[in-house]
């Protein structure tokens, strides 16, 4: 890692672009998600503000920006304000090693995937801090659930990524994309279908999305760990949740779906098309399946995903050794 103004400028520009991507992503996804929910539940969804309700999400975010930051009584103010900041800023760092295109990598780190896994741990810590510091029983219960869930789902996630790393022999995301071809049958999903499935399930668990959204289950916990947050505090949690969804989609595309390579013409458009297809899949899941119970959630992970991922890793290791 060389210390120079060029690399510093590259990282700053990349961070600014990632912030833009995060905000645009959240606005578009909120509108898309509400419209999809409406379509699935046979109701119109937002339709009043703008043509077909298109600027509804922008109005909502303006409202959030203008709201008062309310501090409930008896909170630990340092941790209370630190939690949303800690949820938002590490996500910027997580986007740096992702190869969006052949030349569109902010920082090509040799241990790229490790960097992503290491700093995504801060997201969990921000959830716990938010739940604990807001001095609210719903917040605390949500935080407790967030901890056990994210620790559980991190393991099969890493194991399934490890199987792909065994094949490519590198932790560098750009190199993992280079190993794959342009056509779908040359992607890692054809070699590692089980790992892809495990990653897809634990991706939903890791980002706290329905049907695994136990940390913020509305019907039981009001809003889980961010119950006491208003205005920008809530908005930061919201932004980082959608950014995390986007990030795991990008990692999935990089590892299993050939990254920026695609039929006919390679380029960054393939990364975005494939990542947003996965996002659509996550949204579709949310409005199709009911929320699981908490013991079911942990049983799925410890009794199915973990043994399956160990088996997959084992077979991959043997095959790699033999070939």
């Amino acid at each position: 890692m060389d210390l120079s103004i060029t690399s510093l400028a590259q990282i700053i520009i990349a961070c600014l672009m990632v912030i833009g991507l995060m905000v645009a992503n959240a606005v578009v996804m909120v509108y898309f998600e509400r419209k999809t929910a409406g379509f699935i539940q046979r109701r119109p969804g937002p339709y009043e503000v703008g043509p077909r309700g298109t600027i509804q999400a922008i109005c909502d975010s303006m409202k959030l920006l203008g709201k008062q930051l309310f501090i409930p009584g008896n909170v630990d103010w340092l941790l209370y304000f630190l939690a949303p900041v800690l949820a938002f800023f590490p996500v910027l760092l997580l986007f740096l090693p992702i190869p969006f295109g052949k030349f569109l990598t902010a920082m090509s780190v040799d241990e790229g995937i490790l960097l992503i896994l290491a700093f995504s741990g801060l997201g969990v810590i921000s959830n716990i801090l938010a739940g604990w510091s807001s001095n609210n029983k719903y917040g605390l219960l949500g935080a407790a659930r967030a901890v056990s869930q994210s620790i559980a789902y991190e393991i099969p996630m890493i194991m399934s990524l490890l199987a792909v790393i065994f094949l490519s022999g590198s932790l560098n995301l750009s190199q993992i994309v280079e190993e794959q071809g342009s056509w779908p049958w040359q992607w890692n999903i054809c070699v590692q279908p089980l790992a892809f499935f495990i990653y897809l399930v634990s991706l939903v668990g890791e980002t706290n999305r329905a049907p695994f959204d136990l940390p913020e289950a509305e019907s039981e916990l009001t809003a889980g760990f961010h119950t006491e947050y208003s205005g920008m505090g809530f908005a930061l949690f919201f932004l980082s949740e959608y950014a995390n969804m986007l990030l795991v989609s990008f990692v999935c595309v990089t590892f299993f779906l050939g990254g920026w390579k695609g039929p006919f013409l390679d380029g960054f458009w393939w990364t975005f098309i494939k990542a947003y297809l996965i996002m659509m899949f996550i949204v579709w899941l949310r409005w199709t399946f009911p929320r699981v119970r908490f013991d079911q959630l942990l049983n799925i992970n410890w009794k199915w995903l973990l043994p399956l991922s160990i088996l997959n890793l084992w077979i991959t290791a043997i095959v790699v050794k033999l070939l």
């Binding site: 890692m1 210390l3 008896n74 630990d76 290491a118 801060l122 510091s133 001095n135």
Partner: protein, 217 residues
Amino acid sequence: MDQAIEQILTLIWSPLRALDAFLAEHLPGQETAAIAAYAFYVLVILAGGLMAIGSRNLVRAMLGLILTFFGVAGMYLLLGSPFLAFMQLLIYVGAVCVLIFFAVMLTKNTNEGEEFKLPSPASAVYGLLAFILPLAVLVPLILVNAPNLKQEAIEPTDTSYLGEGLITENVVGFELISIILLVAMAGAVFLAWRRQPDKGKNQSGQNDPAKTKELRS
């Protein structure tokens, strides 16, 4: 087409690269930067440690611990081992701290820090002992070895080299560590397992679906 893009990119970055080359000549070299980074990480570690010791509140103390872990990870980066730095964050911040939090979360949040007590004389003596013992080992070692140290530029360690060392030369130590972890895990499972029959007896099987079925039939 790829080459054209590459040329355009180098053209865009060329003014900044020229500035870099200019600064590299006129500014103090890498060594000063390394010393500044070292001083920064030492400050981060010390601040985290002080926060961990001095807070009246368990969760804030935990935050200090996390800060210290970040400082140590920075030290690893400075030593040219990004792999160890990221593993430090992944394991200590992502797993160990989260698990400790899990226990701390069951304490009361009153902001007065009820769990904070001044140490008794006996524990103060033990604490002093725990402080002096590592010092007694480390200080002589440093004093003996300091004159022989050489200044060398540190090259980043290749991760594949690290992995090869773990499974060839140091394979015995590596396997022993995994056995220790296995024993710890088995012990934890055993401790959690043993209480279950008692629990069933105390609550007269109300939460046990199998027993409720028996009662009903």
